[in-house]
Structures are given as C-alpha cells and as structure tokens.
C-alpha cells in the first residue's frame, strides 16, 4: 500500500513568477491522476512547527527566513543565502516551506507507525538547504527533518538522491551520523551546481563510508545511469540494511531539463523507480518515502512524477495522455505537452562521447566500492 501526502498549501512555496520552481508541476500530476481515475485519498499534513525546523537549522537562520518571509527588515540577508538570484525573498515563503516540510515529516511518521510501507509525498525534496544557508531554491531541509524524526526513533535510515544535483544539504546534516547512509547520484560537480559530491566525500568519524557520492559525466544516458545505480545502490543497501529509505526523486536528470546535462528519458525514470522499489523491498523492509525535487522542464517533470505515482500504486501506464487534459494544461502553461508518458525515441541526437562517458561511469562503481571496502566489514 502506498500512502499519498499532499497539501494545497504547498503552493505557498512560491519564489515568484517565472521562477523555475513552479507549483504547476505537482498540480498537473494530481489533475492527470484524477483524469485517469487513479487519484487516491491524500492525507493532508500539518505545517511543520518552528521546533521541528530547528532540529535541522540554526536559530539565527530560521529567524531570518521567518522574518524576511513576513516582510520584516532583516540584516545580513546574504549571509544566509537569502535575497539572492536563486532564493529571492518572497512573502509567505517560510510558511510554504514549513507546509512542505510538514508533509515529509508526516511521511516519516506514517512509516514509523507502520501505517503504510510506501509513502509518496507530492512535494518536498529541498536537498540544498544547509544548516544556516538557503541555496538552490531551497529554504528548509524537509528531507533531513524527516530522516531525523526516524533516527530519533532508533531507526537506521538510507537516503537516496536521484536529483541531477548533489544532495549537499542532506549529506552535510548527517556527515558524521552513523545511523544514516546517504547516496547521491548526480552530474559531476566539476560542471554543475553545487560543485560538491565527489567520490572522496565519504563521511566523517562514525559516519565514515556511509556517505556515497556518484558524480556522473555530463550527457550520461539511461543505460549507463541504471548500470551505476544498480552497481552502487544495491550493494550499499544490502550491506547497510536500513529500516527505511528516503528517496529524493528529482526529475531534473531528464534530457530536456534546462538546468543540467544528463540525458534520461521518462522510460529510464520508470526503470529507475522500479529498480529502487525492488532494492527497497529486498533489503530495506520494503519501507520507502519518496519526495519530489528538482525538475524544471514542466512537461517532463509532470510526466515523470505521474509515472512514479502510477508505479508506486501499481497502475498500468496508459499509452496516451488524455487529449482534453493536454489541451487544458497546454493553455495554462503555454507549452506543448507530449502525447505519451513515454518520450518519443530517439529522444535526442546521438552523443558523440557516449563510449567514453559510459566507460568513465562504469569506473565510478569500482572507485566508490574500493573507497568503502575497508570499512564495510
């Protein structure tokens, strides 16, 4: 059974018109599932309290975010990464961020109480929020707050991040925590924001060799991605045997995403989701909390998260996206929506360096495994 979590108040996390973090992405998923008759009851989470936010973030930072969000004058905004190009100050943003965090925390609660084995939180995934720094569209780290909730109850938790960007905020929060394994698959930080997530970033102290980073080459395609995902996530979770897995299911590794350079198709995402579920069922008590994340091609992200929804709830993926639905949303977003959940193949021109990229990625499996071998005993 998969429980869906959603609150219309998530919409309050709005970073302004034309900002790529667009709430329409989620509304499209829900509306499309409704259209297909797939919509299940969705639990509405409470807003996260300030105390819950303070389990992850510093006092001064939270005050700055909350005050700025209320339109109050705040000194040193930039010190906290606020009022910048990526994280402009928008009224109500703190409230919106706390609603989203509340949803992810509720997801943790549902798993802890064994009310469901799978949870899909139709929001959250703010993996770039640091203890005292807003970055990359993220204010409050909902993922870290949910993971903390579970480790607080004595659980071992794995965090799996397939967003195209390094999950730096979550890694930082648990860098020396022996109860949390973090695995991030992302485009190499040599090229992409935030610039971290290198193989040698393995965790500190008791958390050593529990933080894995897989920096994939730009223009990596699905086949290579999935090979590396299986080659690393499977042995890692098999060894760590967590009580639950939190998955940041960002959709920005899609080939059409305007922010990055990986080349996954929606077909690849389906295989990725199924692979993750299979690993979770085999080695992690079947417990998984999926959140959304990045995904800035609105027509790709909405299809990818619809595929995630249908995969988790065991619905068949229809051949076509209903035409009326497409017409309605095309008018709203001013973009052409593909006729199918799946991308038309070939989806892009052949990548000239493909063989070299695949070889490099394959090496990553060996390099990551070699790096942790001494500690995984």
């Amino acid at each position: 059974m998969c429980q869906i979590i959603y609150n219309p108040q998530y919409k309050k996390y709005n970073l302004g018109a034309n900002h790529p973090f667009d709430h329409a992405r989620v509304e499209m998923v829900i509306d499309l599932m409704k259209e297909l008759g797939y919509l299940k009851e969705m639990i509405v989470p409470d807003i996260a309290s300030i105390d819950e936010i303070l389990t992850i973030h510093g006092n001064d930072y939270v005050s700055a975010v909350e005050d700025a969000s209320l339109g109050k004058q705040v000194n040193d905004l930039e010190k906290f990464g606020l009022g910048t190009f990526d994280n402009p100050v928008v009224e109500g943003m703190a409230e919106g961020a706390r609603y989203q965090t509340g949803g992810t925390i509720l997801g943790a609660q549902i798993l802890l109480e064994n009310k469901a084995k799978k949870v899909l939180q139709l929001g959250g995934g703010f993996h770039h929020a640091h203890k005292n720094l807003a970055a990359g569209f993220c204010l409050y780290n909902d993922l870290a707050a949910a993971i903390k909730k579970m480790t607080g109850a004595g659980w071992h938790v794995a965090y799996l991040d397939i967003d195209v960007h390094h999950g730096d905020g979550v890694h930082e929060a648990f860098y020396s925590d022996e109860n949390v394994m973090c695995i991030s698959f992302h485009e190499s930080g040599e090229y992409l924001f935030p610039g971290t997530g290198w193989i040698h970033e393995l965790g500190k102290g008791m958390g050593r060799s529990l933080k894995l980073n897989v920096p994939l080459e730009p223009f990596t395609e699905g086949e290579s991605y999935i090979e590396v995902l299986k080659g690393i996530a499977e042995p890692a979770l098999k060894w760590f045997k967590p009580d639950a897995v939190v998955i940041q299911a960002g959709a920005d590794a899609h080939f059409s995403d305007p922010l990055a350079d990986l080349m996954l198709t929606t077909q690849d995402f389906e295989i990725i989701f199924k692979t993750i579920i299979q690993i979770v069922d085999e080695y992690c008590n079947g417990r998984a909390l999926f959140t959304l994340g990045g995904g800035y091609s609105i027509t790709a992200a909405s299809r990818i998260w619809s595929i995630l929804y249908m995969t988790l709830l065991g619905f068949d993926i229809p051949e076509k996206i209903p035409e009326e639905w497409r017409a309605k949303w095309e008018a709203k977003i001013g973009k052409k929506i593909p006729e199918s959940f799946y991308d038309l193949l070939p989806a892009f021109e052949p990548i000239p360096r493909k063989d070299e990229i695949n070889r490099h990625n394959k090496e990553l499996i060996r390099r990551v495994m070699d790096a942790v071998a001494g500690d995984w005993i």
Binding site: P20, E78, G81, G83, T84, F85, D86, H128, H130, L133, A135, G136, F137, H165, D168, G189, E190, Y191, L192, F193, P194, G195, T196, P218, P258, L259, D261
Partner: protein
C-alpha cells in the same frame, strides 16, 4: 596570496645539539618532516626526516650513530622565504631546488615554515568549492574593461562571484573559470552569451545575435 597567509607559525625548533634519534622521535610524534635548527636565535640549518633516515641507514657507506648531534648532518646554508613573498615565488624556488620546505625569516628572525603541503592547501583554496555554486567557463578578450562588464552583468542579477580562476588562452584571449552562487547556470550563460561573451561551459548555448 602571500607566504604569511599559508605558512605555519606554531613551530617545533631544535638546537644543533639535539641527537638524531631525539629529532626523529620529535618528527614522528608531531607528524612533521622538517625541523629548523636554531642557535642563539639564529636559524643555522634544517634537518628533514629524509636526512635522518639516509644518515642512519644501514645501507649507507658510513652510517651515523643515532646518538650524534644533528649539527653533523643538517643542511646549511638554508634558502629562506619572506612573509611578504608571493607564494608562487616560494613554489618556484622549492621546485628548482627540489626541497620540501622553506623557513620564513623576517628581520633575520624565524617566524614560520612553509612546506609543500601548505602550498597544496593554497592550491585547494584557490581552486576549490567552498560554497554551493555553479561553474562558468568563459573566453574573454584580453583587454581592459571586459571582466568589469562581465562582473556587472552578474551583479545586475544579484549573483555573487565566489571565485575566479584565469589563465592565458591565446594571444588575444584569456580563459576565465568562475564559480557563482546560482543553480541556474544555463540561464545566466545565455545572458552572458547574448552580451557578446564566448561561453565554453555550459555547452550548446545558442546566442541571440
């Protein structure tokens, strides 16, 4: 970047009367490889772990007794650096002389030590990622005002520049690698391209002419 910014100042100093085995124990205990030898407040030599090991090795023709004084084996005269030397000067000298450390003297007084490790730390500081940021690689015409034009374009978008690396590209251009605090690298690359700069990374940015 100056030597004073990278040198170590918490020094372990020995006198020329120190025995080889004591000097070696000191190095092991403090995890260091170089000891400045000081007499009457003057630097008179340097001894490295390699000097000690070679001097006492059974493989050498006439191994020294570990009980003798470092005075017998220390290297002198010593090439030194000044706190206000640029690090590239010290780096070049250390590479030329094939040495791993330089004592830093100011008015003839020992004030610090700089080793290859300190210079590697400096390299990391110059090239590393210290805050979440994206990377831009730009070819810039080698003439005055171009960098200022680029910087003001970024400032106009409230984007902070975390670091800049430049190196010569060819006669007329320089390459510029910037780390800037935005996740929206492609958007800003497009703007930069439209403003007439040549963007090398991210790739496939089509400029509006």
């Amino acid at each position: 970047m100056l030597i004073r910014e990278v040198m170590k100042t918490d020094l372990t100093i020995i006198s020329p009367e120190t025995k080889l085995n004591d000097a070696y124990a000191l190095m092991l205990g403090r995890k260091i490889r170089h000891l400045p030898v000081v007499e009457d407040e003057n630097l008179i030599g340097v001894v490295t772990d390699r000097d000690l090991r070679l001097a006492t090795s059974k493989l050498s023709e006439q191994p020294f007794d570990p009980e003798i004084q470092v005075r017998k084996i220390m290297k002198y005269p010593v090439r030194t650096a000044h706190p206000s030397d640029p690090i590239e000067l010290a780096t070049r000298l250390m590479r030329e002389l094939k040495i791993g450390c330089m004592p830093v003297l100011e008015e003839s007084k020992l004030v610090g030590m700089v080793t290859t490790s300190d210079l590697l730390d400096a390299l990391l500081l110059l090239t590393g990622v210290h805050q979440p940021s994206g990377r831009l690689d730009i070819r810039l015409p080698n003439r005055s005002g171009e960098l200022a034009r680029l910087a003001s374009l970024l400032a106009g978008h409230k984007i902070n520049i975390h670091s800049i690396l430049t190196y010569p590209d060819n006669e007329r251009n320089v390459r510029l690698v910037l780390r800037i605090d935005t996740i929206e690298i492609k958007f800003i690359a497009q703007e930069i391209c439209n403003a007439g700069f040549q963007v090398i990374w991210p790739p496939h940015i089509a400029c509006v002419k």
